[in-house]
């Protein structure tokens, strides 16, 4: 993996060593029946940065993720992506989202599922499906229908998508769920490679997580 490639858009490098802000939330809040599910929340996510969203069950972690993807409309505040106010129509594949529903077709193989993602989101330079599947530990299972894989293997098949699409912002909702110790290390490795490339990631988890590249920024949600 050539993970030290300079970012395609070099403009932000000129701003005196301060990495560009990829994702920004300003007084972001979400209302369900006039009741605040989370927020108001302010945070910024710079290029090359991982933020960990912490909170108890029901504190709105998944809701926050869905608001950040634009699928849920924020009740208050705004989300800005690379400085521009964003919506589902304008963000154009800059964000990749991995939620509780993995978005895999059970009757297709991991390789076929990846081909769909590549078709929709595009392919990062130098990435290919076989290498991505080997990286997530699915070598030998490329052509097995996803239906026959275990829960952890399904998760890995979904994570392989992160390796081939060019999106710079990863929104990962509980990426560690269902994974074994080796899988957790694998997710951390993917995140480290991603930040080294100048990408950013927002990760929710209610378990203790340690990243190889030092302490992540923490965003705390209160129930």
């Amino acid at each position: 993996m050539d993970n030290v490639r300079p970012p395609r858009n070099n403009v932000w490098m000129t701003v005196a060593n301060e990495p560009a802000i990829l994702l920004e939330a300003r007084a972001l809040g979400f209302l369900r029946q006039d009741e605040l599910v989370f927020g108001p929340l302010d945070f910024v996510l710079h290029a090359g940065e991982i933020a960990l969203v912490e909170g108890d069950n029901g504190s709105g972690k998944t809701t926050l993720m869905r608001v950040l993807t634009g699928m849920l409309r924020a009740g208050e505040g705004e989300v800005r992506l690379e400085g521009a106010a964003f919506s589902l129509d304008t963000m154009a594949g800059a964000v990749v989202f991995l939620g509780h529903h993995l978005g895999l077709k059970l009757d297709l193989s991991p390789r076929e599922n990846l081909a769909v993602s590549t078709g929709l989101y595009g392919q990062r330079d130098g990435a290919n499906a076989d290498a991505a599947l080997a990286e997530v530990g699915l070598a030998g299972y490329e052509d097995e229908p996803v239906r026959r894989l275990s829960a952890g293997q399904k998760k890995r098949a979904a994570l392989a998508r992160l390796l081939i699409v060019p999106a710079r912002v990863w929104l990962l909702d509980e990426p560690y769920a269902n994974l074994d110790r080796e899988g957790i290390a694998m997710v951390n490795r993917l995140l480290a490679q991603h930040t080294a490339r100048g990408g950013a990631a927002l990760v929710t988890s209610h378990g203790a997580v340690s990243f190889a590249g030092g302490e992540p920024r923490r965003i705390r949600l209160h129930a």
Partner: protein, 228 residues
Amino acid sequence: MTPGSTPAACAALLRRDLTLAWRRRGDIAMPVLYALIVATLFPFALGPDPLLLGRIAGGVVFVTVLLAILLSLDNLFRADIDDGSMEQLMLAPQPLALLVGMKILAHWITSALPLIVVAPLLASMLKLPTDTMPVLVIALVLATPLLSLLGAVLVALTAGSRRSGMLLALMLLPLCVPVVIFAAGAVAAAQEGLPWIAPIAWLGAGLVMALVLAPLACATALRIAMDT
């Protein structure tokens, strides 16, 4: 095709849906089987009078085909919403309306096209005069995509609710009526030796309008359905 470009995305989605349909071939066969059974039962119920059967053949074929399409319609977006694929489609850089249009096209290919293929067989079982057969096929080719598109809008509208099958059937009924009137009207006119081009033109006009508007309406309705 560059991956991520609009044609590549459409092709990938179309290929996905067709592959999925092929892996579950039994589901494709069901509407065809249903239409075959219904059309077979009519002569038994009404008696084998060729004149009577010939007169009702066009109408019976259209109603049968319409109901058979309705059977498969409910599942159009359900699977994608349940397994998270719809979220992935929404976040893709391509316009959602276009991707939804591809899904409708795949649905039409897998559920309506087999019915169009067997329709002449059904019609000849019901003693429809052979010279009106081309009109029947033309009317079906225009009417079935129109039904798929109208149905897809309603499926998208009811996608938020769980047991939506009944609601869907009720809402689709008034939209089906003009389609059936024009399609069966064309065949009836051809049978009586009258010009049949006018009802076909109406179907065509409806189809063009639905082609443009239905995917947009679907995309908006799906966004609302996911916004919960």
